[in-house]
Amino acid sequence: MIEALSLVPKAEAKQSMKDFKSDQEVRWCPGCGDYAILAAVQSFMPELGLARENVVFVSGIGCSSRFPYYMNTYGMHSIHGRAPAIATGLASSRRDLSVWVVTGDGDALSIGGNHLIHALRRNVNLKILLFNNRIYGLTKGQYSPTSEVGKITKSTPMGSLDAPFNPVSLAIGAEASFVARTVDSDRKHLQSVLRAAAEHSGTALVEIYQNCNIFNDGAFEVLKDRESALDAVIRLEHGEPIRFGAPAEDGLGSKGVVRDPATGDLKVIDVTVEGAAGVLVHDAHAASPTTAFALSRLADADTLHHTPIGVLRDVSRPVYDTEMAEQLEKAVVQQGKGDLASLLAGRDTWTVVG
C-alpha cells in the first residue's frame, strides 16, 4: 500500500482509462501537448486504484487549467494562480482525498508564484502538475516567466527582457520535498514520474514540458528529436550514475555528470573508461537539496541543453495535513473533546436571578 494514499478509499472494481474520461468535449487546439498529458493521466489513474469520487483535480486559469473538466472525478476550475491555495484548504481538511493541482507556467509562476512556493514549503499532500509551455497560450501568445530572454511576442516586439525561472530550481529553493520534470510526448516517462509523485507523501511538483503548437511550437523539440535528445536530455534514475549521450563502450551514455573538485559545482564531461567511476550517482533521497539544485542548473535556459528529467528530489519530511490532524487529536487528548456549553460559559460568570 502506498502510504501517501493510505487514507484514500480504494475503488471496488478494476478501473480503466475510460472511467476517468468525462463526457465533456476536449477543446484544446488540435495538436496541443495537453492532449498527450491528459491521455497519460487518464490511463495512469486506474493504476492507483483509488475510488474515483475521492480524487479531485483543482486548476487555475490558462489552457492547462481546463484539465479538470475532462477528468471524471471531482474538480474545480478556479481563478488565476490560486489553485495551490484552494487545494491546500481542501487537502488539509480532507485527508481521504487525492488532490491534484493542474497549472501552467503563467498560472503557477507569475500570478500564483506566492501560493506555489508556500504550498511547497508547507508540504501539504498535493500533487502539482505544472504544464510548462514557456508561453501564454490562452491570452494568445505573450511571453511567460519561463520564456527565454529576448523572446519576441506580441507584448515584447523587441524581445523580452526578463530572465526566466527554472521551475525545478525554484521548487528546490522553496523547500519542495518532491521535484520532478518530464515531457508531454514521453508517456512512459511521464507516467513513471506521476507514479513517483503519487507515492510521495507531501507536496510533489512535476514540471511537464508541454508543446504549445500555436504560439510556441517546437519549444522542446531539442529534447524530443531522437538525435538532439541524446545530448540534450539527462535522464535521472535514483541510484544510477548520471550518464547520457550516445552510448559509450559500457553501454551507458558517453557523457556524464561529475562534481568539479575545484568549485564543488557539477559539470558535464566525456566519460572515459577510467573516469566512469567518478560519475555522480543520482541520489533523489539525499537530505541536502544542494546536488539536486546543482543538477537543475545544468540546463541551458536558452538551448535546453543538458536538461535533467526524472525525479530530482524525493525526500520525506513532515506533511502539513498529517500534522494538522495530529494537533487536532492531541488537543482532544489534552483539553478533552470540545464542549460548547462550557466554552461559552468561560470561567468568570455571575448570575442574575429573575
Binding site: Y74, G75, A331, A345
Partner: protein
C-alpha cells in the same frame, strides 16, 4: 454628563479617618473586619478612562477593572483606544494608549461620551485626553512623570499641575511611580522592574475608589506571571498598595458605590465578552450546530487577528486554522475547504477584503457556503488600523467584478457578534453562498456583559449534502446536476468529494443552468445572472423592528452595525427630554428586510448616522427613493451620544 453624582449618598457613621500609625494590613482592608472610614457615595454610573504610554499597560489595567466590574454585576461597555505602533515613541502624544470603561447600575449602551475620572500616567496622557473631560471631572495624575523634559515633549511650557489650567477639575496628584517603588522596596526587584508595576498600583487605587472586588485580579496576576513568581507578587503587592493608599490618604476623602445592575438584566448567567471573542465563539457554535468541521483561512491583520488566535485555541472542537501566505490564499484555502464540506471562513479587515474580492466572486459563481468576516477599520488603504469605521459597506455590497451579490449582515454590539456569526452561517449554509459579516474595531475590542445562551436554544444549522443523482437523462440514466436548484431557496446541491456517483466539475466560467457545464450562451448567462441575484434577494431575513413608543414620531433614525449603542443612547436622551423620535437598526444590509421600504416611508424624515460618508444612506436612497439624511463622522471613534442627540434633534427640526 449630568448623572454622575446621583442617588443617595451613604456616608459611614464613623468619625473622620485617623491617620494609622502603620500601613494597614491588607487583610484588614480587603476583608470585612473593618469598615472603611471614609464617606461612600452611591452613583448610578461612572465613566473611567485609564491613559498612559503604550508601554504602561493601560489595556491590561482596563481589562482587569472591566473583569472586576463584570463580576460585580454592573452593566458595562468598554472602549480601548491604542496606537497602531507596537511601541510608539515613549512619552509622546501619538504613543498614548487609553481604555475607557462605562459601568452602571442600569442598562447602558455605550462606553460613554466623557470620562468622569481620568487616570493620566504621564503628561502626554493628560494632554491627549483633557479635552474630553467635562468640568468637575476627577483627574488622577502620576506626578512622578511630570518632569520638565516629559512636559516639554508634549508642549507644556509650565506644569499644568501648577499653572491653574486644571482648576475646573478635581485633581489628585499622586506620585504613582515613587509609591510603587516604595511598596516594592523589599521585593528584591530592580527599580526599573518595580516601576513597571505602577499600573497595578493605579488599578488598586481605582478599585478602592469604586469598591471593586479584588480576588479576580490577584489570581489573574498570579496566573499570568506563574513562571515569574517574584513579578507576580510584586504586581499583587503594588495592587494592594494602591488600594491601601486610597484607604489611608487624605486626598481621597470619598469613595463610590455603583450597585449591580441586576434589575436591568433578564435572569440568567452572564459573563463579560468582547466582540471578537463573541464572534469566535459564534463561529465555533456554528460549527457545532451545523455538525460541520470549522475551517478558518486567515492572514494576520488588525483588528481581526484575535479571531484567528482564539479559534486556533479550539482545535479540540475540530477547528482547523490555517495561517496563509496572504489574504488571497487565506480565502482560497477556505473555499477549498468549503468545497470539501467544511463550514469555512476567512477573517480580515478592509484591505484584506479588497485582496479577496476575486475569490469572493468565485465563491458566488461556485455557490458554496463561505463566511467572510470583515472587522472594519479606518480606510482607505492602510488607513487607521487600530481605529474604527464602517466604511466597507459598499465594498461588501459591490466590491467585485460582474454581478456578484453577497448577503451582508452586521452585529450591533460586542455580544451580538455571537448571534451575527450564527446568522451569517445560517444564510451561507441555507443558500450556498458567501456571506459578508461586517463588524468593526469598536465592536471587536469593546466589551459588555453577555447572557450565556443555552446551547439547545441556538439555531439548528444542520445541512444535507447531496447523496444521490438528481436528474434523469433522456436515455433514462441517472445523473447528477450540480446546478439543479432547490425551488424554494434557489440553493444548489452541495455534493462533497467522496460521494460516489456525484463526481462533477465546477468553476468560475459561466455554467449552464442545471448541468453546470461550461456555457457561453447569451440567454443562459442572462438567466444565471438573474438567478444568482434572485437567490440573494430571496434570502429570508426578519423584518426590521421600529422602536417608536408613542407612535407619534415624525423622524426615524436608522443605523447599522456598531452605531447601535450611541444611536440608542442618543434616542433615549431625546426622549428623556420630551422629544419623540423613532429608531430602527439593521442587522441585514443585503437583502434588506422586506418591510424596510414601508418603514422608511412612514416617517417624514429619515436620518442615518454612520461612521463613513453616508454609505447606508446611499443604498437606502437608491433602493427606496427616500430622502434619507446622512449624519456622519469618520474620526476613528464611535459617536458620542450627546452630540448625536443634538444632531438628531437639529435634523428633525430642519425641513
Amino acid at each position: 454628563m449630568t448623572s454622575q453624582v446621583s442617588s443617595s449618598s451613604s456616608a459611614t457613621a464613623e468619625p473622620p479617618a485617623q491617620e494609622p500609625s502603620h500601613p494597614p494590613v491588607i487583610g484588614d482592608v480587603l476583608g470585612e473586619q473593618r469598615k472603611p472610614v471614609k464617606e461612600t457615595r452611591r452613583l448610578d454610573r461612572v465613566i473611567i478612562r485609564f491613559a498612559g504610554d503604550s508601554g504602561d499597560g493601560m489595556q491590561l489595567t482596563g481589562d482587569r477593572f472591566t473583569s472586576e466590574t463584570a463580576s460585580f454585576g454592573n452593566d458595562l461597555s468598554t472602549l480601548p483606544n491604542f496606537p497602531a505602533e507596537i511601541r510608539a515613541p515613549a512619552g509622546t502624544l501619538p504613543g498614548v494608549s487609553s481604555f475607557q470603561l462605562h459601568f452602571a447600575d442600569h442598562d447602558i449602551l455605550t462606553p460613554g461620551d466623557a470620562p468622569d475620572v481620568l487616570v493620566a500616567m504621564n503628561p502626554a496622557a493628560l494632554k491627549a485626553n483633557i479635552a474630553d473631560l467635562p468640568r468637575g471631572a476627577e483627574i488622577i495624575v502620576n506626578t512622578d512623570e511630570f518632569t520638565k523634559r516629559a512636559m516639554a515633549k508634549v508642549g507644556y511650557a509650565a506644569s499644568p499641575l501648577d499653572d491653574g489650567s486644571l482648576e475646573a477639575y478635581a485633581v489628585h496628584p499622586v506620585p504613582l511611580t515613587t509609591l510603587t517603588v516604595e511598596a516594592l522596596k523589599d521585593s528584591g526587584l530592580a527599580r526599573k522592574d518595580a516601576e513597571r508595576a505602577k499600573n497595578m498600583f493605579a488599578l488598586g487605587l481605582l478599585s478602592w475608589m469604586y469598591h471593586r472586588p479584588t480576588e479576580g485580579t490577584e489570581s489573574f496576576l498570579r496566573k499570568k506571571f506563574a513562571k515569574k513568581p517574584d513579578i507576580a507578587e510584586a504586581n499583587v503587592t503594588a495592587f494592594r498598595a494602591g488600594w491601601n493608599f486610597g484607604e489611608t490618604t487624605e486626598d481621597f476623602a470619598v469613595n463610590y458605590e455603583v450597585q449591580p445592575a441586576s434589575s436591568a438584566f433578564p435572569a440568567g448567567t452572564y459573563r463579560n465578552i468582547s466582540g471578537n471573542l463573541a464572534l469566535a465563539y459564534g463561529l465555533v457554535a456554528a460549527g457545532q450546530r451545523s455538525e460541520l468541521p470549522l475551517f478558518l483561512g486567515s492572514y494576520p491583520i488588525t483588528p481581526a487577528s484575535d479571531i484567528l488566535h482564539e479559534l486556533s485555541r479550539h482545535k479540540n472542537f475540530g477547528v482547523r486554522t490555517f495561517q496563509a501566505e496572504d489574504e488571497i490564499a487565506a480565502i482560497g484555502a477556505a473555499l477549498g475547504a468549503a468545497f470539501g464540506g467544511s463550514l469555512a471562513l476567512t477573517t480580515t479587515s478592509g484591505p484584506g477584503v479588497a485582496l479577496k474580492s476575486e475569490t469572493i466572486g468565485l465563491a458566488v459563481s461556485l455557490e458554496l457556503p463561505l463566511l467572510i468576516i470583515d472587522i472594519q477599520r479606518g480606510g482607505p488603504s492602510t488607513g487607521l488600523p487600530t481605529k474604527t469605521e464602517q466604511s466597507d459597506l459598499l465594498q461588501a455590497m459591490y466590491g467585485r467584478n460582474g454581478e456578484a451579490p453577497v448577503p451582508v449582515v452586521a452585529p450591533c454590539t460586542p455580544a451580538d457578534c455571537f448571534d451575527a456569526a450564527l446568522e451569517a452561517a445560517r444564510i451561507a449554509l441555507t443558500y450556498r453562498t458567501p456571506v459578508m459579516l461586517l463588524s468593526d474595531g469598536y465592536l471587536a475590542n469593546g466589551s459588555e456583559p453577555w447572557r450565556i445562551p443555552d446551547v439547545e436554544d441556538l439555531p439548528d444549522l444542520r445541512v444535507r449534502f447531496a447523496t444521490a443523482p438528481n436528474h434523469t437523462a433522456a436515455d433514462g440514466s441517472e445523473e447528477f446536476w450540480p446546478y439543479l436548484r432547490d425551488p424554494e431557496t434557489l440553493a444548489r446541491p452541495w455534493a462533497v468529494p467522496g460521494t460516489p456517483g456525484l463526481e462533477h466539475r465546477i468553476g468560475g466560467i459561466e455554467k449552464q443552468d442545471g448541468t453546470g457545464n461550461i456555457s457561453y450562451d447569451p440567454a443562459n448567462h442572462d438567466f444565471m445572472t438573474r438567478t444568482r441575484q434572485a437567490k440573494i434577494d430571496g434570502v429570508q431575513v426578519p423584518d426590521v423592528v421600529v422602536d417608536d413608543p408613542g407612535g407619534a414620531a415624525r423622524t426615524l433614525v436608522i443605523g447599522w452595525g456598531s452605531t447601535y449603542g450611541p444611536i440608542t443612547a442618543a434616542v433615549r436622551r431625546i426622549r428623556r427630554e420630551g422629544g419623540s423620535i423613532a429608531q430602527a437598526h439593521l442587522r441585514h444590509l443585503n437583502p434588506f428586510p422586506a418591510n424596510l421600504g414601508e418603514v422608511l416611508r412612514a416617517y417624514d424624515k429619515v436620518v442615518v448616522p454612520e461612521m463613513n460618508l453616508g454609505q447606508l444612506a446611499h443604498l437606502l436612497r437608491a433602493k427606496y427613493l427616500v430622502d434619507a439624511h446622512s449624519y456622519t463622522q469618520v474620526t476613528g471613534l464611535p459617536f458620542k451620544s450627546e452630540q448625536l442627540a443634538k444632531a438628531l434633534v437639529e435634523e428633525s427640526a430642519n425641513d
